[in-house]
Structures are given as C-alpha cells and as structure tokens.
C-alpha cells in the first residue's frame, strides 16, 4: 500500500476536511499510456463509441438537448 498524503481543505460550508492529496507518481513516464489499446476488437470499439461518445453515437442520448425546458 502506498503512503497516501492528505491535505486539509475547506468544503463549501467552510468546514475543514481532509482530502486525498495528489496520487500521481513522481518523475517522468517512460512510456506513453495509450488508453485506446485497452479496447479489444471492432465490437469493443463500437460499444465504446456508443457509450463513451454517446453525445454523437447513441440514439437515446442527447443530454440537455433532450430536455423539454430550455436552460
């Protein structure tokens, strides 16, 4: 288990709370992390497109554009 660092910050009501500090590793990465390589074949890609990129590729999703009352 890494030793997590905590910092004291204020929440919205001004109360002091302990929050988890930065969790990234020190130093420079040796290799770039390509998240796309975590997806398998075409099926995986299509599923990802329809969920993660639902803004354009899912028929059921239109975010606030679907609301009856305009913002």
């Amino acid at each position: 288990m890494p030793d997590y660092q905590y910092e004291e910050k204020e929440d919205f009501s001004g109360r002091k709370v302990k929050v988890l500090g930065p969790t990234y590793e020190e130093g420079k990465p040796e290799e770039r992390e390509d998240w796309r390589s975590k997806l398998g074949g075409r099926e995986d890609a299509l599923r990802y497109i329809r969920t993660a990129m639902r803004y354009w590729y899912s028929k059921e999703w239109y975010g606030s554009e679907k609301r009856k009352q305009e913002a």
Binding site: D34, R36, M53, Y55, W56, G63, E65, A71
Partner: protein, 648 residues
C-alpha cells in the same frame, strides 16, 4: 525617444536575435524594424480589385463629413467587408486544401497504394464512418476506409445540401445556421463564392458579404479542418498525452539536425519512421554523428509532437533562428507559414532548405516533391541528404540551452477518457466543476505569433490571467508552443499558476491547467470538446450558452481570421489582439462586434492589451454563468443513507 519594445519574452529567441545581428543576418525581427505597416492597409481602407484603382480611402480628417467611396462608387463598408471576406476565403482555403491532400492520401492508403502509411486507429475510423452514414457491420477495415475517403472527398465539391459534420453540432446551432442561411454546402463552393462575390461590381452590401464569410468559415471549422483532424487521426493515431520538450535547445550539436516545418503531417510522419531505419542509423554513425535529431517547427511540430513525442524547436517567429544556430543540416517545408526569408538565412550556413509540396516552391530552395506512392523512399532520400551535409558545418554552432518539458496530445476523445475512465468516459466531471464554480469556464487561446507584438508575450500574459481566474485553457498552434516554453503545459503548472478551484480539479484528474489540443486544423477538436459539454447537459443547449470564450492575441495569418470567424459563427465570443482588420469602417466593425451577438449569439472583439482582453473574456464567461443561474458556487448537498431512503 520611445523605449524600444523587447522582441521576445523567450531567452533562447533573444540570444539568437542577438547572434543574427552580430553575424549581419536578416531575420523577420530586423526586417520588421525597417518596414512599418502601411497606415491605410492596416485599416483595410484600400481596394485594388480592379484596374481603375487602387483606391485608397483613408479616414477623413476630423470635422470632414465626406463619404468615402472608390472610383466605382464602392463604399468604405463594401471595401472593408470585401477585404475581410477574402481573408476568410484564403484561410478556409488553406485549411481545406490541406484537408484535400490528407483525403487523397487517405484514399491511397485505403487502397494500399501509399508507401509507409496504414490505418492506425480503427476506433476512430469506425466513429467517423458512422458520421458519414457508412455501414460498418462485418466489413473489412480497408473497405470502410475506401468508402469513407470517397465520401469525405465529396464534401469539397458538393453543390447542394449540407456538410455532413454540421450534424455533429448542437441541434440549436444547426437550426440557427439554417435560419441565417449560413449552413455550408460544399467547402470549395463556399470559398469560390466569396471570390465571386468580392469581384468588382458583385456583392455590395457588407452584411451580405459577411454572411458568406461566415458560411465559408463554418465550412472550414466544421468541414475542412475537421476532416483533416479526423482522417489524420485515423492514419496516424488519435493523440493521447505524451511527454515532449520544446525550444531551440532541443537541437543537438553532435547530431544530424533535421527540422520539419509547415503544416501537413504526411511527410513528417514518414521522416519519423525513416529516422529509425537501420540503414539511416548506420549512415548517421559513419558520418560521425551520434544520431538523427528530428525537431518540429510550427504546426508540423505539433502534429509529430502529439503522436510521437518528437521535440519542438519552436513556433512561427523562431523558424529563421533555428537556422541561425548553425546546427541545422536540413529543413523541410511544405505549406503555410514558412517565410521566404528562410532561404537567405540558410545560405549563410550549410543548411539545405527543401520544399516538398507540389503547391509551394521557394526560389533557390531544393524541391523534392512528396507523393504518397513512394513517400518512405522520399523520406529516406531527404534524411540521407541531411546526413551527407553534416560534415559541411562551416560556422561555430551556437545552441541556446533553453528547453522545457511539456505534455501534449489532448484530443477531445482523450479528455473524455481522462475525465471518466474507460467505463464511464464523460464530460460530466468538467460540467459539474463548472457548475459548482471550481472551474469558472473554458477558453480557447490559439493562433500565431506576430512580430508586431513582443514574441509570445500576449499569449502568456493572457493565459496566466485566465488560469489564475480558474478558467481552463485549451490551446493549439503557436499559442500552444508559447505555453510549452513557459512551462504551462505540465501538471505542476496548476499549483504554480492556477486559481485554487482549477488547480484542485487539475490535480484530481492529473492534467495541466492548459491543454495542448494540437495544430491549427485541430481547433476543430475545441469545437468538439465544447459540443460534448453542451450535449452532456447542464450548461445550456447551444455553444453560445457555455461559459466559454476564444482568443488569438498574436494572430497574423488569414487562417486565424477564418478560425475566429467560425468560432464566432458557432456562438463563441472571440477576442483578437495586435491589430484588427476592419477598423477602416465603423459600420462593419459594429456589425462584427455588436450585431453578431444578436445574429450568432457570439461576436468578435479587439483588445491589444492581453490582460484587458483576458478580463473581457472573464466578463463574458461570468455573463454566461449568470444566464445559466450558476453565477454563485452552489452548495453541494451530500446525501446520507437516511436521505436516500426518504427519496425511495
């Protein structure tokens, strides 16, 4: 005597300007001292589109109520609007002709006729194919790519209907474009129509001229530029965050230095591949060099940085200075932003200047044309020339020691992933943090350098002011490189420069407060990120509802005007610095700065002081927050179990 403005805020640049001065080498900086802008041209109060002119119509002296018209009777409004529309046409043409080259190479790649190229990003291929209504089920990759290439090519010459990508914009924006008659048909058609309408004696109503300017600009942002970005991503990979380095200190004394300059990433991609070829490595060693050091310049730099981590030598105003180091064996240039002055500077050293596009030659440079059919062979030939040139260095090499780490490669897809992870990818956390006030809003700060403004100074002053006020900045082009040099593109910059709310979010997600989204055509990625924010919900129904603004504080190219015009026509308030090309006509300026807010819900502004400009942007962001009812950070109610049960 007025105090002389510093030429740059960057030490490496200043050192090499000084060296150029000592060596009596002319650069853009010395030429600008000798050549001041024409006071009539700067206001665009002149017309030379027919041989009865040129007609120069300077502002009348105070008290002189004289109406200004040309020999044909053209009013100053018509003249200024025509000049503005032509700038948009040229800018849109530049991005879109780049796109055409990409599409043609893409088709050859799909057919297996492009040496060294392949389809690298199948997910993006499938996504873009779906945009174009292409059936992807059970089909081979090459087959889908062929159909996509042909459909994309059709976007240029389409005579009727609308561009396919308009369908990706928020629904309200699409409706508005249709209502205003600015939904573009084919990309080429809109550009040609500007050239026709601005010919002598055609369209002579400034509002009508500027309506067509919007239509062509939208065809750039939501057409040509977007096609370039997407098809380049499919061929070379959608960018993901990568560690790179920037500034003239990336050049290496003991290496063969090759600088790739220009805009199209086609040949640069192959130069990266060829530089790893065993034969090239062997030749490099036998020439006595430790390796081949590829470095980028201008937008070519952004492209190879984002996809391969290739270092950036610098931005627009540093192009000649790279050669002044005496360490560059060869520089390739393709299209856009390459100064003709490069040739004279190259001649002072051993540097070989190579033009590579069939559309752009420079007198005195060596021309080696890139064709995708034998692209890899061409790349190797160019590298061999550079290696052969290594022993020919005739001057002492001077490389400033400035180089800075940076993180680039934030495509809108990657931002989506970083915010939510693989299984919950989403813009929700960004929207939530805007709604709760940790992030005040989002700004796109983009564009060039301009020698009339201290190099990089306006970018940096504006961006620091924005992030200090909790505005997340998305950047591209030479602005992005200025940020890189200043250290703003590292996660650590959040703690150093950002307001506490923005810094907290950046720390939690692990991103810098300024995100590098790519080259100039990649401003289309900013449009997509902003559209995702709208569609995610909670921040209104249109791009114009977002607490967002755009800026190009050091713009110089016509492409920047086209970009600004499509930002504005997409509903984004956009501020330009340095100079403004409609000051010759108050009516035209009022139309763009005020009446556009009624029409497009987004408008232009001009403010040469970058801090004042940042304040204008922040005021606009606050106005939008107020309209959304999120002007005060809302208290967040955390539900405990008892409250949850009560809900059930």
């Amino acid at each position: 005597m007025p105090e002389e403005k510093p030429k740059s805020i960057d030490r490496a640049t200043l050192e090499l300007i000084e060296k150029a001065g000592k060596d009596k080498i002319n650069t853009v900086f010395s030429r600008a001292d000798e050549l001041k802008p024409c006071p009539i041209g700067v206001e665009e109060s002149c017309c030379k589109i027919c041989a009865m002119g040129p007609c120069r119509l300077p502002r009348p002296k105070k008290g002189e109520g004289k109406e200004r018209v040309g020999v044909c009777g053209a009013t100053i409004e018509t003249i200024v609007a025509r000049n503005f529309a032509r700038k948009v046409a040229a800018g849109a043409a530049a991005h879109s002709d780049h796109a055409r080259e990409v599409v043609q190479t893409f088709i050859k790649t799909a057919r297996g006729e492009a040496q060294g190229f392949s389809i690298k990003d199948e997910m993006k291929l499938v996504a873009v194919a779906l945009d174009f209504g292409i059936d992807v089920e059970g089909r081979e990759t090459g087959d889908i790519a062929r159909e996509l290439g042909e459909k994309a090519l059709n976007e240029f010459g389409k005579q009727e209907g609308e561009l396919v990508y308009l369908g990706k914009a928020p629904l309200k924006r699409q409706e508005l474009w249709r209502k205003l008659g600015t939904a573009p048909r084919g990309i080429d058609r809109e550009i040609v129509e500007i050239m026709h309408r601005t010919h002598m004696g055609v369209d002579q109503d400034y509002r009508h001229l500027l309506q067509q300017a919007s239509r062509a600009a939208i065809a750039d942002g939501w057409g040509g530029s977007m096609i370039s970005t997407d098809l380049q991503d499919i061929m070379f990979g959608t960018p993901v965050p990568v560690l790179g380095s920037i500034n003239l200190g990336v050049l290496k004394e003991d290496n063969v230095n090759v600088v790739v300059h220009g805009h199209e990433p086609l040949l640069p991609e192959l130069l990266v591949v060829a530089s790893r070829d065993p034969e090239i490595r062997r030749l490099t060693e036998s020439a006595g060099a430790k390796g081949i050091n590829l470095a980028g310049m201008c937008c070519s730099a952004n492209e190879v940085l984002m996809r391969h981590g290739i270092p950036c030598a610098g931005n627009f105003l540093q192009q000649e200075l790279a050669l002044v180091t005496g360490a560059v064996e060869l520089m390739t240039v393709d299209v856009q932003c390459q100064m003709q002055g490069l040739k004279d500077v190259a001649e002072c050293f051993h540097t070989r200047l190579i033009t590579t596009s069939d559309r752009a030659m420079i007198e005195g440079a060596v021309h080696i044309e890139f064709h995708p059919e034998h692209g890899l062979d061409t790349a190797k030939r160019i590298l061999k020339m550079a290696i052969e040139n290594y022993p020919n260095r005739r001057h002492a090499v001077y490389i400033p020691d400035q180089r800075q780490d940076m993180v680039a490669g934030f495509s809108h897809e990657t931002i989506n992933y970083l915010l939510g992870g693989l299984f919950r990818a989403s813009y929700r956390p960004l929207n939530d943090n805007i709604m709760n006030g940790r992030i005040r809003g989002v700004a796109g700060v983009v564009g060039c350098n301009n020698v009339r403004t201290t190099h990089d100074s306006a970018h940096i002053a504006m961006i620091k002011e924005l992030i200090r006020n909790d505005v997340l900045v998305l950047t591209t082009g030479c602005a992005a490189m200025a940020c890189g040099k200043e250290g703003l593109l590292t996660p650590e910059a959040a703690k150093l420069y950002a307001g506490s709310g923005l810094a907290e979010v950046c720390e939690a997600v692990g991103i810098p407060p300024v995100l590098h989204l790519g080259s100039c055509v990649d401003n289309s990625r900013i449009l997509m990120a902003a559209t995702a924010m709208v569609k995610e919900g909670g921040l209104g129904d249109d791009l114009s509802d977002l607490p967002a603004a755009g800026a190009a504080p050091e713009w110089m190219s016509e492409k920047a005007i086209s970009i600004g015009q499509y930002f504005v026509a997409s509903g984004i308030f956009t501020v330009f610095g340095t100079t403004w090309p409609t000051t010759g006509s108050e009516k035209v300026t009022r139309h763009l700065f005020e009446e556009y807010e009624e029409l497009y819900k987004g408008m232009w502004a001009f403010e040469p002081d970058p801090l004042q400009a940042a304040q204008l942007m922040i005021r606009h962001i606050d106005k939008k927050r107020k309209a959304l009812g999120i002007d005060k950070a809302r208290d967040r109610v955390l539900f405990d179990m008892a409250m949850r049960r009560a809900l059930d």
